[in-house]
Symmetry: C2
Subunit: 142 residues, 2 copies
Amino acid sequence: MTASEKPIIQVFDAYKAAVFAKDVEAFIALYDQDVCVFDLWGKWSYEGINAWRGMVAGWFGSLGTERVVVTFQDVQTFMGDIITVAHASITYQSISAEGQALRAMQNRLTWALGRKNGTWKIVHEHTSAPVDLETTKAILKR
Amino acid sequence: MTASEKPIIQVFDAYKAAVFAKDVEAFIALYDQDVCVFDLWGKWSYEGINAWRGMVAGWFGSLGTERVVVTFQDVQTFMGDIITVAHASITYQSISAEGQALRAMQNRLTWALGRKNGTWKIVHEHTSAPVDLETTKAILKR
């Protein structure tokens, strides 16, 4: 990590913290108003922060007493002046209220971050899993 | 399109032309040596130009007398100094040797392009389709 990458690493850390806390507003604060998200599940794209907030509120609300621990692997970052790209594998590990490991799932993640007024926000997110050619089912690493 | 975006539009046009011509080397020339691709089909990631060339040669080789017409929709571009991001929907329309439309498939596409020695190359590509939560099957627009 170089010094210039520090604000990008902070986005990764803030993402983990917001998911663990199930804090919709802290999570949404990481994204630009005009964000476009290509999410793994169900929908072609989410356009704008309000559509994305709806997905996030539904996700966090569905967790009950469970929490989700996020980890990133194989992170690669391309820093630019006003646009930065990062890609990684992201693991979502559900844990029970007692701290017991439940389900886990891995996605491929691409983030484009834009710098406005000195702050980096996610302007585009793309998460997915590859698809088996024969069955058209997602190949989910667990 | 602004004048500064012209080299990025040229990548889109060159991609279309290389796919239509089934020209592996022209296609591969659009990518950086160290490219990382998250492709829709079969494999978590392709690391480096040689792994990616193998996929492309297999794809073009499988087409027989068919050709593939690529079109891009909903293109959004974020220009930076040395990193640029573009996302879009991409349609692959197969046509017979006689020009008759056969299968078509749409993917979600994200490109990160890096500028080296004045030339923009794709340093990261992410294509996918969203996945149905119940069946875990890809939701493919056709």
